[in-house]
Symmetry: C2
Subunit: 338 residues, 2 copies
DNA sequence: TTGTAAGCGTTATCAA
DNA sequence: TTGATAACGCTTACAA
């Protein structure tokens, strides 16, 4: 079997404690002895066993990252952000995909607790208040990202979804659009709800009467955007613009428009949300609301590390990024003759 | 602190061993006692400590997944495949991004070994023969994906990159193209090398003389595709087609072509590799070579689980997926007048 | 400075 | 069937 600290001690001719001390740079140890231990360890190809260490230290230097689906282009960027920050701090991250399924979420949380993670980051999942509450009560640090848990005292890094949605719709209104449809996100997610709220608010502020028929809910996937657009674009009079709850849905809308022979942006303006990498690659480029995904992941991990280290005590911190409208080619002034 | 098996034993009025037995469904235990233990555990909110269990069992039910960059759209699909398979088997996965940096790779492997993962999956990274060899020698199961390690006895799930590249180029040749450039991938990557080989071979088979000037290496990113295309498209006579080593680079090529006012597919045909989700969303749709990323990840994990369970002994298994050409809108017959 | 010994929470062996 | 008890590999007082 792989050598243990005991083997190292034996071949170095010292006691267990000494080996542990040099390996951890803790306590005094004569340089000469230290050298001998290091050589023995090297000679034996010793690899410290973190699980043994974790058992006594009651800390694992691992965290759990819970996201809906790594396959949705918004999440890889967030994930990379937390991974980079974690890695620099010597932490390793467990990745869990839930598909927004509450049962899956609960199961993942259970798994991660059993594995004694030092903390968890929830990103963009549905509002599972009890789960987070239980974790916090248990003393396990949590930070939620891209998802607000109402009234819960938990660290969070968010983006102002309502404001972003509002600016997207205002942009459309400024371009002369009045028949603005909303390809809404997942109904049970806070993110979807907030963007919907921003949409509603923008129309209201502009004095445009609400029209239930111009709203259709999807689930943030391309397919749902496509499906929803087929309904929305079939209405008469046809909307001249649609605000999609995220870029993936916007792509679905774009595809549906194309198949229906509706020219974008000439006959239809489309705006998305997220500004995933592909948004700028598309021709015409997708007008969208940018979320700093990588930075959000990174910050979430930073906050979590502070909690874990105990350097952040007391009330929860909330950081809100201001989303930014990125105007590209899928939006244009409404043709008054259209 | 959180209750331990000991607390459960005490409140159930039984011995430690009994609790362990009921929690693991191992050995005989009177239904009545069993019930009592379960109730006590439930009452106390007992959560088993996997690290303690791992210490004695010498197995952690965790694996390490090492990829270059989760932000490259090919990897999320693979990752999701391994995650799904792992999850079903009760395994959790540590995610590591290396950016193809050998130093990072070595560091991640070290970290994962310390954490006593039961196995590791390398996907699409550079050829780090010694790393894999050492792991195998140590008795740690490994499977490499989307990356061959020459002559090494390790399980692998691959896609026939050369064949895929060849069929892509043959497609171009069949369309009448002869000036075919190659926006090559990462030079140090087996994947990049094999696709390059397929390109070379296809031209050779068609009797098209090799032209060093039509080849430029990048690193699988959109930016590198863009950069490389600027050089390639500046040549005189201008190539009428380019085969990019992956879809991201193809997007870069597309962008460069557009900025140079070169119409695709009228004046330039472009084909990529991977068939990431976005390839089909683009207009015109990107002609590319499809790799079954999700299935590859899933199979890799299946093979790894078999090794871990010891149900697969002996020689390494190699599964090679046959890539499939997907013809969409970015390729067309060469205009003989062009 | 360095060695010894007592845990950390589980599993597994052995008597009972 | 069930209860002690000895590991698992390491950290950390506590002595020496």
């Amino acid at each position: 079997m792989s050598p243990t600290i005991r083997d190292v001690a034996k071949t170095a001719g010292v006691g267990l404690g000494t080996v542990s001390r040099v390996l951890n740079n803790s306590g005094y140890v004569k340089p000469e002895t230290r050298e001998r231990v290091l050589q023995a360890a090297d000679y034996l190809g010793f690899v410290p066993n973190m699980v043994a260490r974790s058992l006594v230290r009651k800390t694992t230097s691992t965290i759990g990252l819970i996201i809906p689906d790594i396959t949705n282009p918004f999440f890889p960027a967030v994930t990379r952000g937390v991974e980079d920050e974690a890695s620099e701090a010597g932490f390793t991250v467990f990745l869990c995909n839930t598909d927004n399924d509450p049962g899956m979420e609960a199961q993942d949380v259970k798994k991660l607790r059993e594995r004694q993670v030092d903390g968890m980051i929830f990103v963009g999942t549905t509002d599972r208040r009890e789960l987070v509450e239980a974790l916090l009560a248990e003393g396990i640090p949590v930070v939620v990202t891209d998802r607000q848990v109402a009234d819960l005292d938990v660290d969070s890094v968010l983006v102002d979804n309502a404001a972003g949605a509002r600016s997207a719709c205002r942009h459309l209104i400024d371009l002369g659009h009045a028949q603005i449809a909303h390809a809404a996100g997942h109904r049970l997610t806070r993110t979807g709800q907030e963007r919907f709220a921003g949409y509603t608010q923008a129309l209201q502020e502009a004095g445009i009467p609400a029209d239930e028929g111009l709203i259709a809910w999807g689930d943030f996937t391309v397919e749902s955007g496509y499906r929803v657009a087929q309904v929305l674009l079939g209405r008469a009079p046809r909307p001249t613009a649609v605000f999609a709850a995220n870029d993936m849905m916007a792509f679905g809308v774009l595809r549906a428009a194309q198949e229906a022979g509706i020219a974008v942006p000439e006959e239809l303006s489309v705006v998305g949300f997220d500004d995933i990498q592909m948004a700028g690659l598309f021709r015409p480029g997708l007008t969208t609301v940018r979320q700093p995904a990588y930075e959000m992941g990174r910050l979430a991990m930073t906050l979590l590390l502070e909690r874990i280290a105990g350097s952040a005590l007391g009330n929860s911190r909330h950081h809100s990024f201001q989303p930014e409208l990125v105007v590209r080619g899928t939006t244009r002034r409404r043709d008054p003759l259209g």
